[in-house]
Symmetry: C2
Amino acid sequence: MAASIIDVAKRAEVSTATVSRALRGLPNVSAATRERVLRAAEELSYSVSPHASSLASGRTGTVGVVVPFVNRWFYSQVLAGIDSVLRAHDLDLLLYNLGDERVHERFFTRMPLRRRVDALIVLNLPLSAAESEALVSMEVPIAVLGSSIPGCWHVSIDNQEGASTAVRHLINLGHRRIGMITAAPGDPRGFTTPIVRQHAYRTVLAQAGIAYDPDLEVPGHLSIDEGASAMAQLLSLAEPPTAVFAESDHMAFGALRTLGRMGLTAPDDVSVIGFDDHETAELLDLTTIAQPVAHQGELLARQILDALSGGDEEPAQVVVPTRLVVRGTTGAAREHPPRYHSTPRPGPEPDQHSTTAR
Amino acid sequence: MAASIIDVAKRAEVSTATVSRALRGLPNVSAATRERVLRAAEELSYSVSPHASSLASGRTGTVGVVVPFVNRWFYSQVLAGIDSVLRAHDLDLLLYNLGDERVHERFFTRMPLRRRVDALIVLNLPLSAAESEALVSMEVPIAVLGSSIPGCWHVSIDNQEGASTAVRHLINLGHRRIGMITAAPGDPRGFTTPIVRQHAYRTVLAQAGIAYDPDLEVPGHLSIDEGASAMAQLLSLAEPPTAVFAESDHMAFGALRTLGRMGLTAPDDVSVIGFDDHETAELLDLTTIAQPVAHQGELLARQILDALSGGDEEPAQVVVPTRLVVRGTTGAAREHPPRYHSTPRPGPEPDQHSTTAR
DNA sequence: TGCTTCCATGCACACGTTTACAACGCGCCG
DNA sequence: CGGCGCGTTGTAAACGTGTGCATGGAAGCA
């Protein structure tokens, strides 16, 4: 049986109240008694019961983190950023992975984090209005990544600027026929990132005097395989693009794979630019828009810290910049782009793929 | 203010004891009253206070997961596996990321999980004897991945078999001069995986009648960059290997990068095999030893469930099999392997790299 | 009918802290 | 010399739930 505060009090010959104050470093306890208490606690190898403490004080010392997919690179990076800051302030991290649709639903009906956390961090989750409201009703500070909830703290990248930079990069290289592999189309819930990026894509094209062609926008659902299919679809057009902007590196990887399997090469045949600067983007020599991933996690955690300590300041919004990283998969447009009317080689076995330097 | 059990009791016109029993589905409560209680709770949108519940019952409904690096692919996958099982049983997941050495140390001096979790899952952590003992002293069931602690549950892959398979694959292709890029050498703590794999490598070579050459074993510290350096070192040997076994895919990626930068190709110049079947292994067409990653997480979580429910069975050990995945980076040995005495091209800018199909 | 058995329910305490409030001693100042 | 303020400590009441035990009543049985 672990020692309780009463045992410590007896051994130090003080009341439990004094023990509590001494251990938490409250000012109103004399140096001598504090010393005695600390020694007694040490000798009994005592540690406070977090549950009793929470119950009495109302504070839990815990922050809930809700993430759509822990096992994806992006979220695991953000999570690491969050963790590093929380840990430094002795806050615990209660993880909620909502990958499954059933789990997502269950989360919002049962609200298992209610009364369990001092604050909430929500990563990039498509939320319905009712769901946002349910979160707010927990009456704890909330920091949101990606989307936004009224009255909550907020961190995001400048998607408008990032996507514009990507498309401008391609235009500057001389490309006029530019495709986009987009994320999920028209999600009814409040997840605006794909919309903003798509808007930027269209706007920049328009500014460059390039006519809008809906055939050049193909959804890729953020996965490698879907990105590969999307690229195949683009290449099958009567007039295929000479450059493609994939709004995630994963989809860009898929696009590169399709190129390789068709015997094509980036950037010689098609230029490809991604978004994220995933760790393997460098390996594949992919030009991309980099965003500070772990850093965003740290910012979210810091906002929570502010909210928990300061208290009454109103929630702030932080926008972090993106950065163009030019690597080997984008290059100058050819004078006469070749026509590719071949179809991807089918077959279960892995095929070749390759990328070459600019 | 959130409703408490007393409010529910009043509204349902029963005692709090009955409310408690009804809500937890205990058998000894009549259907009629249970119905009344559930409705009252629903109307007040009541949810139990986890802290009060923990304090009273001694159970926390929480499992601590200690992981060295959340942001690495492997651990995030395992974490997802753990989460899926725990979630299905309404257990919360308290995450501890120990990446930093300071954090690691602090964790073991302060034991912040003590009295806070019902069980512990420890991922692949190099632990000193004192640290293992500290964990055991928490007196909760512990499931360990990779390493092993006496008296604890245990999941791991068959490293002996996996590594042997990798080396045999290379030998079967006709290779006689086979290098190995190893993980950290001689960690004084109880982390045996690299040792087992190295032993398998040496044993299989010996069984094939191939003389042991210490120059062919180079440490790569599990990172892409170090893996790249290791490959460079292997290629600079007077008699370089014709095939290389990297004991992690990350290091294999680095190895491929080095080959690419030197204008060499796998498997035409050097065959490369990795370990893990990382998600980008397929992209790079890397032959590798696959291990079921998320599945191991699920197994760990299930062990914990057994320990928490069953109770008195003694901890079991599960060994999951690995699987050879042949892709494009391994191929038959050449009759007369070329000599490469060039050094890697230096330079800050990214360089080409490529892989081709078998 | 009277006794036992069993189920449903209530009573009251325990769980281990935090914290408002009171009490106490001491020095200071009027 | 008395009162006042301040710093230190103790007292006791929450905090919200789980659970052993007692109670009451209905059903079963002789």
